[in-house]
């Protein structure tokens, strides 16, 4: 399913990117977010709980998100050999159809949590 998401404040450091289209990454549990404001910008994201089980509940428990909010983490590739990493320090939160990006001041939510080796 493809749907549109609105991030009224944009992403951290990218305040002009406020509209995204979300589509599934075929054959995986991941999704792709494509900017509708900058056609050249897209990111791959995972449900936070897929990377760190219970993360969405932890954020809700700290009062940072509403119960049941959807939490996504952005994926990148780092290292040698290259590996897919997940940015747990800057998760995307989607509540009532609106998105925002948090910045978590907590070393247990690293910027580059290892997801899987990339061949």
């Amino acid at each position: 399913m493809i749907d549109q998401l609105s991030f009224p404040d944009g992403l951290v450091g990218l305040p002009d990117l406020v509209r995204f289209e979300r589509s599934p990454l075929e054959g995986t549990v991941f999704v792709e977010l494509s900017s509708l404001d900058d056609p050249g910008f897209r990111v791959v994201a995972a449900a936070a709980d897929e990377v760190r089980p219970g993360m969405s509940g932890e954020l809700a428990g700290r009062g940072l998100t509403a119960e049941g909010a959807e939490v996504l983490v952005l994926l990148a590739v780092h290292g040698d050999p290259p590996a897919v990493t997940a940015n747990l320090a800057g998760p995307l939160v989607i509540e009532d159809g609106l998105g925002r990006q948090l910045v978590l001041e907590d070393p247990t939510f690293p910027l580059r949590a290892l997801l899987t080796p990339a061949e």
Binding site: L14, L74, V77, A89
Partner: protein
């Protein structure tokens, strides 16, 4: 910018609900304690810059990530 001088152990308040206290001073480092409502985000400036850089990196690496995840699936 408002500039205030504080000593170790002294604090300042922002509005009615935020307190920033100088816990101790270690050389050129100042250790601060912050008391704020849970809905107020308190983060170091450089962490915001790091998250912004990592978000841009995620955009630059989307193709590599996609390929790696498809191989993994």
């Amino acid at each position: 910018m408002l500039v205030l001088t504080r000593r170790a152990g002294q604090a300042l308040r922002i509005g009615g609900s935020i307190e920033v206290r100088v816990v101790r001073i270690e050389g050129d480092r100042v250790v601060l304690g912050v008391v704020a409502p849970r809905e107020i985000s308190v983060v170091r400036d450089e962490l915001i810059a790091e998250v912004a850089a990592e978000t841009r990196t995620a955009g630059d690496a989307a193709g590599l990530v996609r390929d790696a995840l498809r191989r993994r699936a």
